[in-house]
């Protein structure tokens, strides 16, 4: 049988809808394939091929052994609510034959659907009626059909039925539907149920109107509309004097418009808006949006003019009034720390100047209004106020990278300032115990740490991790370093572990060792050698070996032991000053010698001096050749983590 569930709601925040659908897609509908879809006003689950009845089944539940006697049997029978005579004997035990009879699926759904709806996880819920039911927004109708019958239940004071509603203004507010007519009835009433279809409609229409594609905005608009239609509007070209960053932010973040470019990278005086309706024949919506945008642009121009009355350089003291964090004081204090840190990191005069001015835009009207433009506005103002270009660029970029995929600042000064700014935030927060836990990270410290790692690696900055952070913060950064090399750079997790296990100095060094390790890994000798290293480590551990004596060459046995030592010395000397990759290849070449050694030589020699000497040899091998990577961390074929 066919199944249709539609939860009709008031407008659900667009960003929460995909998550809810994912949860609904996992709904158990007696094995039927589940199809989900949504608009801001409805969450929909459809499925075909549900059974009318669940199948009946029987299960033989073993009880006490016959030898346990009648009393035990009686207890077992009582547990199942039957008499001893009703028990079966099976395999020398009293057993109970439990019968489950099939139930009508409709009845089961009557009970399970309210639970499934209740179980949807939302970031923040509300109550709105007497039963106190909590949901993301008020539920106003429910369609629940199995075959041609309603699955009856009541939730939040709403009875399930077979009547849906169309678009708020273009559709009917009472539309009887069946499984077969549901989607087409919605379409007749100006609701495009399929998010995919709405998305395609938006993309096609905005590109026909010349808008610049913007995947995030398309996604937002897909889930903010039931019937999206794009229109193009215009603005006075005089506003193009304002920085493109400001204009784009106003259009995109404040008005959810797409910008239009005349040539690549150059804004044209147009915008594209997506309406939640079928058309704008009289141009009323276009004119309305144009007027709003003009007012917004006027605001921006007003802010720009007002802000120029006080230069960035004259705003430093004003930062005393802007809180950075209650326990960490004002942005003035932060600024002073960052300037000192830039100095400590060897930043030049431009970097120091940029650090001094970097946060001043927080006091400007422009940033108070368009907070996303922090840094960018500072950079634009610095340039306008004749600061050196290197200073302006560093301020402009210093919040970057904003994500793992984002670019790092483009200039050396910008990188130093960005690094110092993020490090200061991390050090400060960790010092007062504001450490991220689980999903809670209110100060975006993970992003800050990620930024530090990305800048250090990608700008090839030669600062040692230990000099930048210690204790808990060092561990936090190490975690982010692992994440970066694994998720962003695609190194295998055991390679990352192996390299970090032999230490973390500068991240450029970590990167070089990792690259070498990944290159040598697939060669024939490598993994077996790694396995041998693991064996050596185990032997040393089991022997409780503590290195005391230097190796005594005299004690070496001729043959595999002396050969191994000879190669060890040769490789050690040859690898010195070599590239990591060359060195790793040399080390891997030891493999036959190591194998032979383990085949022919008894480490656990009877004579203690000989035994200790052998352990010393293995220890030297291990320590000498684990500086690039700790091979024992490598997961070799045959063992899977």
């Amino acid at each position: 049988m066919n199944f249709l569930l539609e939860i009709g709601t008031e407008e659900i925040p667009h960003w929460m809808i995909p998550g809810a659908l994912k949860q609904f897609a996992a709904m158990n509908l007696f094995g039927a394939a589940v199809e989900v879809d949504a608009t801001p006003r409805r969450l929909v689950v459809r499925a075909s091929g549900l059974p009318e009845m669940t199948s009946s089944s029987q299960e033989l539940i073993p009880g006490p052994a016959i030898s346990a006697g009648e009393k035990a049997a009686a207890g077992f029978a009582r547990k199942w609510g039957v008499l001893v005579d009703d028990l079966k004997i099976n395999d020398g035990r009293y057993s109970f034959l439990k019968m489950s009879y099939g139930s009508p699926v409709r009845n089961l759904l009557t009970e399970t659907l309210p639970e499934a709806i209740k179980a949807l996880p939302w970031p923040k819920t509300m109550y709105w009626e007497e039963t106190g039911f909590r949901f993301i927004r008020p539920i106003r109708w429910i369609v629940a059909l199995l075959g041609d019958q309603v699955i009856p239940f009541e939730l939040a004071g709403v009875k399930s039925g077979s009547v849906t509603r169309g678009h708020r203004k273009l559709g009917s507010s009472a539309i009887p539907v069946t499984f077969a007519t549901y989607e087409s009835e919605l379409r007749k009433n100006f609701v495009i149920l399929s998010a995919d279809e709405r998305r395609r409609k938006i993309v096609a229409e905005i590109s026909a109107l010349g808008a610049k594609a913007d995947a995030d905005l398309v996604e937002t608009l897909t889930f903010i509309t039931e019937y999206p239609t794009a229109i193009r509007g215009d603005f006075d070209a005089a506003y193009l004097e304002l920085p493109a960053e400001v204009l784009t932010t106003v259009m995109r973040h404040h008005q959810k418009y797409f910008s239009v470019e005349s040539t690549a990278g150059k804004l044209a005086p147009h915008f594209v808006a997506v309406m939640n309706t079928s058309g704008d024949p009289e141009g009323l919506v276009k004119r309305g949006n144009e007027r709003v945008l003009k007012a917004r642009f006027n605001d921006a121009r007003f802010f720009w003019d007002v802000d120029q009355q006080k230069k960035l350089a004259d705003r430093v003291e004003d930062l005393a009034k802007v809180t950075f964090q209650a326990k960490l004081g004002s942005y003035l204090e932060k600024t002073n720390r960052v300037v000192a840190l830039v100095d400590e990191l060897g930043g030049n005069a431009h970097a120091q100047r940029a650090a001094l001015l970097a946060k001043c835009d927080l006091t400007t009207e422009m940033v108070k209004e368009f907070t996303d433009l922090q840094g960018i506005v500072g950079g634009l103002y610095a340039r306008h106020q004749d600061e050196h270009e290197a200073v302006a660029k560093a301020i402009y970029d210093h919040y970057q990278p904003l994500s793992m995929e984002g670019d790092i600042p483009s200039t050396h000064e910008g990188r130093i300032v960005a690094l110092a700014d993020k490090l200061d935030t991390l050090r400060g927060c960790f010092a007062v115990g504001l450490v991220p836990t689980g999903s809670k990270d209110p100060f975006a410290l993970r992003r800050a740490a990620q930024g530090v790692v990305k800048i250090l690696v990608e700008a090839k900055l030669e600062y040692k991790l230990g000099d930048l952070a210690s204790g808990e913060l060092r561990e936090f950064l190490l975690d982010r370093i692992q994440y970066y090399f694994r998720e962003i750079r695609g190194f295998k997790y055991d390679e990352v572990n192996a390299v970090l296990a032999s230490g973390c100095g500068t991240l450029t060094d970590v990167e070089a060792r990792l690259t070498a390790l990944a290159a040598v890994r697939p060669t024939e000798d490598f993994e077996p050698l790694a396995a041998s290293f693991k064996r050596i480590q185990n032997i040393l551990k089991q022997a409780g070996f503590e290195p005391k004596d230097v190796l005594d060459e005299e004690l070496l046995e001729d043959g595999p032991e002396r050969d191994l030592y000879g190669d060890f010395v040769r490789v050690r000397d040859a690898a010195r000053g070599e590239s990591y990759r060359r060195a790793l290849e040399q080390i891997a070449s030891l493999r036959p010698r190591v194998d032979t050694f383990f085949d022919k030589v008894l480490v656990n020699a009877k004579v203690e001096r000989v035994r200790n000497n052998r352990l010393t040899l293995l220890h030297n091998l291990l320590t000498e050749f684990s500086t690039i990577a700790d091979f024992s961390e490598i997961v070799t074929s045959g063992e899977q983590k």
Binding site: P40, S173, L284, G288, N289, D299, V322, G329
Partner: protein, 290 residues
């Protein structure tokens, strides 16, 4: 084309027809219609209530000396409270837009997530900003908590930004060009307020005295709050007068803020002082209603 006041009449009539008490503005300074006792106190307790009123709302820091076409020190809100919220509340709301001449089949209406929270009132709710052709015209909120108290009946709060809405209807680009009534512009009525209060709020208000006044109103409020537990006839207790002291404190806080007189470290503390008063008052009101 309707004048500013004609649009107001229509909205008031619309909500009058839906059973709301039409109130006049409250006579103590407030930053938003929500702060009036008609909202802040009436949403508490088990009694249904419907009210609509225009509330001039003072936000000293938003003053722009009358120079910015869209920003005002004192703007006017039409505040509607329907407690409990009827099931068709959003349709009723959309009907009010039709009632003032907006043919919604020709316009683009969107409800965009915007939850409301007031730390000074210990209040929050869930809702949207309503966008008409890209213009935010209304804040719609289902109150969940007020004065730190979970609400018995969830009210719907509709707050229309009247200047914006009428500027849209009249097709003018500056609020000062709105026709208030025939032959009279918004500027004729209100421009002097905007200029003079900006001068006072930003330049002349005596910071020391404002702090002292804040302390005085706070002391009065605290003294009243302290008397309630032992006050014999609870229904006679002047909780409404107590709440006026809270509003005075809140407004003085806003003035001091506009003057740049509240430092980073003080800010959180002062907000908490006002919230404590608001929460204490809300508890007494709820107790009286129970």
């Amino acid at each position: 084309m309707d004048s500013f006041q004609q649009t107001l009449f229509k909205l008031k009539r619309y909500w009058d027809e839906r059973g709301a008490i039409i109130q006049e503005p409250y006579d103590v300074e407030v930053g938003a219609g929500t702060m009036c006792p008609e909202t802040f106190l009436r949403v508490l307790g088990p009694k249904p209530y419907r009210v609509a009123y225009v509330q001039p709302s003072r936000r000293p820091a938003d003053g722009r000396y009358g120079e910015n076409p869209n920003r005002l020190y004192k703007h006017q809100q039409l505040q509607v409270i329907l407690k409990p919220s009827p099931d068709d509340i959003l349709d009723q709301y959309l009907g009010s837009l039709e009632a003032i001449g907006i043919d919604l089949s020709k316009h683009d209406i969107k409800f965009e997530e915007d939850n409301w929270e007031s730390p000074t009132l210990g209040a929050w709710g869930i809702g949207w900003q309503v966008m008409l052709d890209g213009l935010e015209i209304t804040q719609f909120t289902y109150f969940q908590q007020c004065g730190g108290i979970d609400l018995d009946l969830v009210p719907a709060e509709i707050t229309y930004g009247l200047e914006r809405l009428v500027a849209f209807l009249q097709g003018v680009e500056s609020v000062y060009d709105i026709e208030w009534t025939k032959g009279v512009k918004y500027a004729d009525v209100r421009l002097a307020d905007e200029l003079q209060f900006s001068v006072y709020n930003f330049e002349m208000a005596n910071v020391e005295r404002l702090w002292r006044l804040l302390g005085e109103y706070e002391a009065e409020c605290k003294e009243l709050l302290a008397k309630y537990p032992d006050y014999p006839d609870k229904q006679r207790f002047p909780v409404l007068a107590t709440y006026d002291q809270v509003l005075k404190c809140s407004h003085l806080f806003n003035l001091l803020d506009a003057r740049g007189a509240i430092s980073v470290t003080e800010r959180v503390g002062v907000i908490k002082r006002v919230r404590d008063l608001a929460v204490g008052t809300a508890k007494i009101w709820a107790d009286q209603q129970a």
